[in-house]
């Protein structure tokens, strides 16, 4: 509930917050288009309630044709809005105008088109067009909500660091870790290089949207390796052959292991290789945090944009279905 009211508050903030220049497109010109859309919805409903057609309410009455015409014109116009409002050349004010009109008039379509149907639904092209319209509007509502809430979180997550800067930082940390690992021994270098190759940024559509990124099994490899390597350094200056490295226990969690390894390394810190090893560990941990942050960024942006992958194709389908609806009605008049 609190989240919902927060979203609503954010959506309809009439006055910009102190110091912020942001003002929601939803309150453009004191909600001019909200008023227009409300008037349209109320008028449609009132006419529908008053109208008593001889064959029952349907799209096939004068009111039905009127609502249908208004609805169709709105759909074509709003689709054109969708193209138009992305031309930012007109300036911010124009973009706000188009967006505000698009959102409110799009919502009013729920009234106009539903009343146009006269609540006759079936497995036919007419209801298909209606269903597409409803899906377009639902995806649009999602879009409005995420546009009002997510950009703030994206900014907070980035912490004044651009996406490319984060990528560059990861590359820098990788390079640093490799350079440090090189100073320990070839074995450590090989393990770090392997982990560098396995770092995953982003992922499949589902991973991006859910935020659950499949982690490669490099963690346990690294953990067991660092643990072993520390012991070797503490006991003997001679590196041991790699084939003696025990297999990683499955399901081992990184944080505990990092603590463990860190402790072990502290003991081994007197050896210069131990110091390098500790730095490698720190670098890798830092990289892990950054990868998590960048994946969070990817998730937020995916959630911000995913609706368009439905909104736009469904709109195209809707336009085609709408034309077929109109043509077929008159084909079999």
């Amino acid at each position: 509930m609190a989240a919902a009211s927060g979203i609503l508050k954010r959506l309809f903030t009439l006055t910009p917050r102190e110091g912020a220049t942001h003002r929601s497109f939803l309150v453009y010109k004191n909600g001019l288009f909200l008023k227009i859309a409300l008037a349209l919805a109320i008028l449609s409903t009132a006419f529908y309630a008053w109208h008593d057609p001889q064959h029952g309410p349907s799209g096939n009455t004068w009111l039905g044709y009127t609502l249908g015409t208004i609805g169709a014109l709105l759909i074509f116009w709003l689709a054109w809005f969708g193209v138009r409002k992305r031309r930012y050349r007109e300036g911010r004010g124009q973009a706000q105008l188009w967006t505000s009109a698009h959102v409110y008039l799009g919502l009013s379509l729920l009234f106009v088109a539903t009343l146009h149907t006269g609540f006759h639904f079936g497995w036919n092209i007419h209801t298909f067009a209606y269903a597409l319209m409803v899906l377009v509007i639902i995806s649009g509502i999602y879009g409005v909500i995420v546009y009002a809430t997510l950009p703030e979180r994206i900014t907070a997550n980035r912490d004044q660091m651009g996406f490319d800067a984060m990528l560059a930082e990861i590359a820098r940390l990788d390079e640093a870790a490799l350079a440090l690992a090189d100073k320990v021994d070839p074995e450590t270098h090989a393990v770090v290089a392997k982990s560098v190759g396995k770092v995953r940024i982003g992922g499949s559509t589902w991973e991006q949207l859910s935020g659950n990124y499949a982690a490669p099994d490099q963690r346990s490899d690294l953990e067991s390796f660092f643990s072993l390597k520390k012991t070797q350094i503490a006991q003997s200056p001679q590196p041991m052959p790699m084939r003696d490295t025990p297999a990683a226990a499955p399901g081992q969690r990184r944080p505990q292991t990092i603590m463990f390894v860190a402790g072990q390394i502290f003991d081994a810190g007197r050896d210069p290789r131990g110091e390098s090893l500790q730095k490698v560990l720190q670098t890798v941990a830092q990289r892990k945090l950054l990868v998590e942050r960048i994946n969070r960024d990817i998730t937020l942006r995916a959630r911000l944009n995913v609706w368009l992958y439905f909104h736009v194709p469904l709109t195209v389908g809707l336009l085609v279905a709408l034309v077929i609806h109109i043509v077929s009605v008159f084909l079999y008049w």
Partner: protein
């Protein structure tokens, strides 16, 4: 065996000859020195074998990616195999090796990653295109094509037909051809024509037998489908909205040619009183005389009659059977006539037969000499009626005055014998309505009819419309039966004229061009 190393880059190809064992790695003393921190100092050893084959031994735990398989520690390679070391590509060719260094700019040679939905394969144009094409094919192109082409049954079974354009259910009456849209929608983009309806509904009665009425605007410019709207569900075709009738009948003043047209718009508030059609049955039947509260004198004493004594419902229960003399009248009305002292029982139902019987008995009677004038007669003797009493006169008297005429109106045509009028029972009292008694069977007769007061059979004791309104309300009533025009009336009520048969004079509608 020497190997040829071909270094391929955008600037061209450089060839080197490598002798003996080849070490690949980042260290400067390697035979093939590769840049980048992902390459181990000593990464792998390559040994040339016979027949262009090369033996690979990894010198580091990372191993080498061979043909896409990472972490290979040792392998025997043939021409065509590809190794990847730290992002660099090293392929085995017929005479040696071919090396392509990793691109600059990504020093760690990390593969492409998917940081946006588009990278992850989400697309807008392709689904939009598929949705549009699919909708167009299923929703329009194929159904339309199937109107003109008939593919083999096995194919047609899986194709979308024009049923995808079907809105609501087809009425019960039309279900049996409902799958064939073209049966009614004969011509594309042309509203359903009356011809399509009349091809089955031949001879359906028109609204009136008066051709002038059929020319008025509300009728002549309507199509069948103006009133009968299909695709309204199982019972949708018979329109029930009173507006269809009230369009004209609420404004009779607009039709100056028909001054007698009463105003009717709504049963509860704007409907004329029930008026019976002019009625001439030929029967003389005083209801009041037969329905006396104390009863009437019958053969066995006083009998109480009720409506049902004479009015027996017909088979359809809409109306009543005509009264039958033999079963319903004769017990009391015996038709016995005294002809010259003989009691003759006349046959019923045939003027000629009754007259013949009278004449026969009258002629057969002995012609007694005229009695002497006497003012005295014995009790029980018939009183002298005076005048001539020949056979014809006797028959005329019995039919025209004494017996038949008690119950029947008579016809007296000059030069023809007097006879009773042909009966016209069962004439409709409300010819413009379809009243059925069956639906009202639970009511008592006198709930609606006040027949006791009537002295005639030809005066209908029609109920007042108020007695109807006790139960029947307007079409949108909430406390009465919702009653609409077609509950009692029919549009198609003419006796002679049929739809579509009056030619140009008559309705045909917008599409009769």
């Amino acid at each position: 065996m020497a190997l040829t190393l071909r270094r391929v880059s955008a600037d061209g190809t450089v060839e080197d000859q490598l002798e003996g064992e080849v070490i690949v790695g980042r260290a400067t003393d390697c035979t093939i020195c590769l840049p980048g921190l992902l390459v181990a100092l000593k990464h792998a050893r390559l040994t040339s074998l016979s027949g262009s084959r090369i033996k690979l031994e990894s010198l580091c735990p990372m191993g080498v990616e061979v043909n896409g398989l990472p972490g290979v520690q040792s392998a025997e390679l043939q021409p065509g195999d590809v190794m990847r070391i730290g992002g660099h590509r090293l392929s085995v060719v017929a005479d040696g090796l071919e090396l392509e260094l990793a691109e600059e700019g990504d020093p760690l040679a990390r593969g492409a990653f998917r940081s946006t939905l588009a990278d992850a394969g989400m697309r807008m144009r392709r689904p939009a295109l598929w949705l549009a094409i699919g909708t167009l094919l299923v929703g329009l192109a194929i159904p339309l094509a199937l109107r003109f082409a008939r593919p083999p049954e096995i194919v047609a079974k899986f194709l979308p037909t024009d049923q995808v354009w079907l809105t609501d259910g087809i009425s019960n009456a039309h279900q049996h051809f409902g799958a064939d849209c073209g049966k009614c929608h004969e011509i594309l983009f042309v509203p359903v024509r009356d011809e399509a309806c009349l091809s089955c509904h031949k001879g359906i009665a028109h609204h009136s037998d008066d051709a002038a009425i059929l020319k008025v605007d509300g009728i002549s410019n309507r199509r069948c489908a103006s009133c009968h709207r299909e695709h309204q569900g199982p019972h949708g075709v018979v329109p029930r909205h009173p507006g269809l009738c009230a369009d004209c009948h609420s404004k009779p003043q607009q039709f100056t040619d028909f001054p007698k047209l009463p105003m009717a718009a709504d049963f509860a508030s704007a409907h004329p009183e029930l008026t019976a059609a002019e009625h001439h049955s030929g029967l003389i039947f005083p209801h009041d005389a037969h329905l006396k509260p104390n009863g009437v004198r019958g053969p066995d004493g006083l009998e109480k009659l009720s409506c049902a004594s004479c009015h027996v419902r017909d088979r359809g229960e809409a109306s009543f059977k005509p009264a039958v003399f033999a079963t319903q009248c004769q017990r009391c009305h015996q038709l016995d006539v005294d002809v010259a002292g003989t009691t003759v029982r006349l046959p019923h139902g045939d003027n000629e037969l009754a007259r013949a019987a009278l004449l026969t008995y009258a002629k057969a009677a002995p012609q007694s000499a005229p009695e002497e004038e006497s003012s005295r007669r014995r009790p029980g003797d018939a009183a002298p009626r005076g005048g001539a009493v020949g056979p014809q006169e006797l028959a005329d008297d019995v039919i025209g005055n004494r017996v038949c005429a008690k119950c029947h109106e008579t016809v007296r045509d000059a030069g023809k014998p007097i006879r009773t009028r042909e009966l016209a029972l069962q004439l409709p009292w409300l010819p413009h309505a379809q009243f059925t008694h069956a639906a009202h069977a639970w009511q008592k007769c006198d709930d609606c009819h006040a027949k006791q007061a009537s002295a005639s059979a030809d005066v209908a004791a029609l109920p007042s419309i108020e007695s109807c309104r006790a139960c029947h309300g307007a079409v949108n009533s909430h406390d009465r039966l919702q009653s609409t025009c077609v509950d009692c009336h029919r549009f198609h009520q003419a006796a002679k004229l049929v739809m579509g048969a009056v030619g140009d004079e008559q309705a045909g509608g917008e599409n009769k061009k």
